[in-house]
Subunit: 625 residues, 3 copies
């Protein structure tokens, strides 16, 4: 399948006499896909039950007839005001107890069943009307679950739902008390309706209380999505998609992805650098008009996994955005680079947000392919250039990478709940490993935590997986390659308790994490004979296995048994390079030391050299082996 | 008219046998005016309808008989507890949804009509009693509108009032939906009572929604003030005054000023430096006992405009205050300097807050002219010195300045709502232009945004005016001097949308702002052949007009057509000097490069050299031309 | 009495078959005391009125029979959920108005009388059962009053209680209005039920309003504690104890201590360094695995005073904790050092928290003497070493120190309410004096503000005592040693007003604080002929007394009359050393200049050299005098 380009279009923003010309220009530029509809509820159903399809029928027809393939969005991210008036308790509630009011978007609580039913009703109506429309070639359900911190809602509906969910899981309050250790501060309950939400407590609630609320809430996102999926499946055979975001961790994307056909994400490299990166100021300065050279790739690899190989960029930043602390313009060539990089990682479609900048409302300062005055913005020309390159690219098949890393949403929740050191952040830890591998020229697969088989990969990393599961234990047992485990992996039971024999509970190794300490930034643990240090997190370990690297004080830092390694702390950049080289060399994997912003991504038939410093992409055919 | 001195006095704080001596001492020191009454509601009306005038009658008489002119304050800033018990819903509500409780001051919501009526009732009672009293020579209405962040209130009364106000303005929900672009995220309403307040939303509300709430709220301040004005006009012919504050931007002071006779403000140079200035720490250190050399002058010029030429300092800092993060003592001579500087800018009266430091309650650590032990504080002697100087000063007429700058409250709201870059602050931008002019020795007029005629001025600056209006367009067309426009001027319609032909919409120029970017502090735009850079905000412009200054990359930075200039970004201090010199020299205006804290203010017959470094003021008669 | 060791044990966390072995191991290690029960309400009374004593009986028996002395805790810090369901309004309310929910601990409001009665009921039931049990040798009431910011509660019950308390104190609203100066902003009330709580006001409330609320709340803590004390006194003759915390200032510990027999505190040197210290980062880095060398000693001395000579460490940190921003492991030897240091200061018992690390719930990452896997953690061995040293120590008598410093909770509240400069913190000021004395080798007594007699001490420091009381005035008058007063001492009346004759109101000196200024960190006041500066706070003083130290500008900095000194500002470290040396030398007190982390504590018969740099303690017998 050849990769294609798309764009996001809002016919409801523009007068109908502009639609035809817009559609034609899209085709001229080389765009094949157009997403519509995902915020249009108030136009489809301006009052309850009063449906107005004509405009949307016409939009579909106009766009489709020039040859565009339509992604139809269900508009459940923006319930209109009449819905809120009908169900005032559908509004989400923040951790601070404040009800989130109507006036922007994503104001619904995932636990509110009546709203879920309304969303299904709308999806059904749309499916009935467009499920077999020849122009509608895919569906997007809702928009950006979790954006604006809207996954966790502390509403009365969430509390009732949580209590039911716990009742089904634990069956008896006594079982829950035991599993949670509620005896600790006399927190024992005698019925499920005594369980509150884990917010507004005097000091921190029981960590398992918080973790279960994350699990419950994530399940509601899955259920909310699945309800629309089920409605649409009977009405259409087109693929179903959701557009995820960057560094949103508060629901299990793999589980949502299991019910969909294609994963996609919304990639805003400059906005994410300013708004969601913890890199230092010098780094942000260097890449302020280019983006972090690894952030996009990480999410491409992640969502390739969430989509089980099928994934898109649904929204690609085309120019300055409006929502980051600073909103510079991308350097020349970067829109093209970002697009090609996505394709290097296997994107089937890269779709630009948005066709034309709207002059009104919240995102009026967010650019598009066209300017407010209908003229081409710089990105339009870069999209055209990409289109030409794609025309020449004969294929874009992906291959399994030799190296993989486990990424687990539950672990992100667990270590958010129990950081132990204030700078222990699961995403950052995994990302440090990912970036370390990339600086050594690796292409990487990201795997879910319940992977049963690592295949014929050479190296799999499992840092900070908070609790083991049977699938991964099987995968580890059957794996012939090199494994890197730790720090903090296997340090909890599923009930968020410390294993009674102490972590890491790897049955074929002899390792005991006797004590854990978290370190202030000024305190690090030096390594004997290796440059670099361990930082933030350090485990005091006793072991009968081989100690490959010792701390300067003589404590185990990297331990080995067979081809399984265990790492006792969080390596800084230099220690990371040393540890990863040691592992890669052990597997005779080819290492390319990449400097600055240069990165390499190998697909089945190509090497993509992506240079964030020069803003250039070089695509090399691989020699046939 | 010769400028005079005043003080703020609270007879209710002191036993009656102290009043006579206090009054006599005021006269001895050279004080002519005394403000009383503005917080005394609980003494005038201790219970509803139970009026106690005797003490106030006696205070008026005692003060007046020694020759003092009284400013009588209406006490509406401090409704007593019985009022709050009567109208529990009169309390203001914060943006976080919390009701602001009784226990300090300014706890009322401007949208609460019953309270407004009560304030009018009290003003009427006071007017009836003292409107023709020979000793009462002026009135102050309320006290410091907007202080303590009390303009915007998110109360149910505000919501109802806002809905009515919108209904009157837009006439139909459809018209509002169209004007606001509510289709954007399905935010369309079908009746005005569906419109909520723009707080507690999931993410940012529609910017026009916020802007209209600012406009509505500002109108309530105007209406609240006007209601008391109307009541007093029928009862007195004395001038009506309000005392504004420093850097309070959340209501339109020009509109409040339109209903009053004299503007005044409360000038606390040291408190404002520590509490409301964004200057850097080195600057704050240098001026910690002197104040920012431009901050007072800016507000003097602003309120001279708000008062249409008639203005006072109603409260002048006399020593350490109690409310800033650090509260040092003024350097010797500074109280005198501040007073003379106000006079240089045309103050009719400078009134010290307060006569004697009260030993109790919230402001017990706030100094006065007298200490708690009734002895003279250092400021008393400086006031006496000023009095002697004023005796020798034959006149204090003001003249129109050659240079003016437009200052617009709506623009402050607009850019607060939509910063686009986190350090884009309208006040700071205008203030940077103001300070830049002052460092070149200019005297400056500040003009409202709807100025119809710039007169025979030589140079008018219009930075960041968010939307054009007909008056200023007329003024621009008829102006013979030099205009500097931009950055960001004319970049929105009144409905907070981007003009469809793109900004800046100056019909006689050929300029298009194609793209805007905001820059992190480490990223700046260099200028070709000029020292200095543009920072924070940069506009990509295409133009057919003359490019006077280019960026190092060759983009237009300063553009000229005739005598109108357009500036594409926010100049740093050096670029500001270069741009302003270029403009001033073009008009053959005399430039004095002033170093450090030295400033110059020219009135009709004098040059005031005000030196914040040496704490000295030199008054030079101007040669007759 | 020989000092002994103890530990905190939670039989409810472990299966009953582990208890016997645990008890025996405690004895083997040298532990004499074991605290139990303080969080076990839900196990003692799982439903209202359903009491389950068997397990606790057995625990007492098992522990007692091996020879352990039991401290029985009343569980009122953790009311179970059924209690909260019964009294939903018992929950504390934060300053932000949010109700603090069940789910952790300390969720009760001290003003809720029904809950107080329930706590007494439980204490009574426990007293009836174990008051005369031979194994129960002491009682702990509740746990860590004030922890997690739970002293001040802004609940409806607090409001009613506060109004009653004010009514009893002032008798008439008019008296209150006068005392408070409520006329200031028309805050006058006409009945006590018009008085609100001092939170959520527009700007700061009247400082006396806040101070009275602190006083009221502190009284509720005292009353809550006393209610349980009274219940237990009739049922047991064992000593009653409470365990206080480090740097918790929001209730009067002396007054709680007056009703108890022994004071104790919970000493977490590493956690407190990271979480509650304002020392700079370099200092925190140096002592991150050792703790601040003075913080423990300060609290030892403070609680020796609160306990009128009898005090314990009830909880001693044994390894990493879970609650600080960073949680490193203690350096080798530090657990031993901390224990011996406590004993040097007179601790009767040092009790480690906790016997075995629990693998579940909130504190699962908090270490114990035993690890989760039941093996010895490093601290266990250090405890054993201490035990051997104690066996050899023949006695541990304390003696009165030559030097004392007054520490006053009301002053902490007053200067929290009215900092005047944002870095004016009462604890830090007192602590600076304390640390200064320690660096000169002094042993120090901490005295309450109402001390009537300073005894035959040589030097007493009274910095920043906000208001005089008769007792201390008597003590000052009768004192033969050297007194150091100021800065800010005596600067208020008990009603939080400035004395009408101006501070400091020392009748036998001639000093007037004419003006006060607070200084930004970059501004300091130099001293003539002395190294060091005054910072943060500076008083302009006129005096007829001897000026011992002048500022470089010639103003009085240290003033002397007889043996009383008055200090005009907050000395930096060097100025502090100079001032203190001058005072100590004046009394011919021996000075030992101690470097780095070395400290000296003298008891009656020993000198303890405690070295936080080398982690060593040296105990020297003193020569008999």
């Amino acid at each position: 399948m050849k990769p294609e380009l798309g764009t996001c279009y809002y016919p409801e923003h523009w007068s109908q006499d502009m639609w035809q010309r817009d559609a034609e220009r899209m085709i001229e530029v080389g765009i094949s896909w157009v997403r519509i509809g995902e915020f249009a509820w108030s136009r489809i159903e301006p009052q309850e039950g009063k449906l107005e399809w004509e405009w949307l029928d016409k939009a579909v027809q106009t766009l489709g007839e020039v040859g565009l393939k339509i992604v139809m969005g269900t508009p459940s991210a923006t319930p209109p005001i009449w819905m809120v008036k009908k169900y005032p308790d559908m509004l989400a509630v923040g951790k601070d107890g404040h009800v989130k009011q109507f006036g922007s978007r994503r104001h619904y609580c995932f636990s509110h069943f009546e709203y879920r039913r309304e969303a299904v009703r709308m999806a059904t109506l749309m499916g009935e009307r467009y499920g077999h429309n020849t122009h509608v070639a895919a569906w997007q359900i809702d928009n950006e679950y979790g954006c604006h911190n809207t996954t966790l809602s502390y509403s009365p509906h969430a509390q009732m739902g949580f209590q039911d969910w716990l009742a089904q899981k634990y069956q008896s309050p006594q079982a829950l008390n035991r599993a949670w250790g509620n005896v600790f501060w006399s927190m024992e309950v005698s019925s499920f309706d005594e369980i509150g939400l884990p917010n507004l407590t005097v000091c921190e609630p029981n960590p398992i209380h918080e973790l279960e609320f994350f699990r419950y809430t994530s399940d509601q996102v899955v259920a909310f999505n699945l309800a629309q999926v089920k409605a649409l499946r009977t009405l259409t055979d087109r693929p179903l998609i959701h557009n995820y975001m960057g560094r949103i961790l508060d629901f299990d994307h793999y589980k949502v992805g299991d019910d969909l056909d294609i994963a996609s994400w919304d990639s805003y490299p400059l906005g994410f650098l300013e708004d969601r990166s913890e890199k230092d100021e010098a780094f942000k300065h260097t890449y302020s008009t280019k983006g972090d050279p690894d952030f996009q790739a990480f999410h491409h690899d992640l969502y390739r996994s969430v989509g089980k190989g099928r994934w898109w960029v649904m929204e690609q930043q085309p120019g300055p955005v409006n929502w980051a602390p600073y909103n510079p313009a991308p350097a020349e060539g970067m829109v093209k680079l970002w697009t090609l990089e996505a394709i290097a990682h296997g994107a089937e479609v890269v779709s630009y947000f948005r066709w034309r900048q709207a002059h009104f409302a919240q995102e009026q300062m967010h650019s598009g392919l066209l300017r407010v005055d209908d003229k081409a913005a710089p990105a339009l020309h870069e999209a055209e250039e990409v289109h030409k390159i794609l025309t020449d690219l004969d294929t874009n098949e992906q291959q399994q990478s030799d190296v993989a890393i486990i990424f687990d949403y539950e672990s992100a929740w667990a270590w958010h709940i129990q950081r132990q050191g204030k700078d222990f952040d699961y995403f950052n830890l995994i990302y440090d490993f990912y970036c370390g591998l990339r600086k050594l020229g690796q292409s990487i697969d990201i795997l879910p935590p319940n992977t049963e088989n690592f295949g014929d990969r050479k190296l799999v990393l499992i840092p900070a997986l908070f609790a083991w599961n049977n699938e991964i234990k099987t995968a580890m047992k059957n794996f012939n390659g090199t494994l890197l485990i730790g720090p903090r992996s296997g340090s909890k039971t599923k009930d968020f308790a410390i294993p009674s024999k102490l972590p890491p509970e790897i049955d074929y190794m002899d390792i005991t994490v006797e004590r854990v300490e978290t370190l202030r930034p000024s305190s690090t643990v030096g390594l004997k004979n290796y440059n670099g240090t361990l930082m933030r997190w350090f485990e005091h370990i006793t072991t009968l296995n081989e100690v490959v690297i010792e701390t300067t004080a003589g404590a185990p830092a990297l331990i080995k048994k067979g081809k399984t390694y265990y790492l006792a702390g969080w390596p800084d950049e230099m220690a990371m390079q040393n540890v990863l080289k040691l592992l890669l060399e052990g597997e005779n994997l080819s290492i390319q030391k990449l400097k600055g912003g240069l990165r390499l991504r190998e697909s089945k038939h190509h090497k993509f050299w992506i240079d964030y410093d020069t803003c250039q992409v070089k695509i090399e055919p691989k020699e046939k082996p």
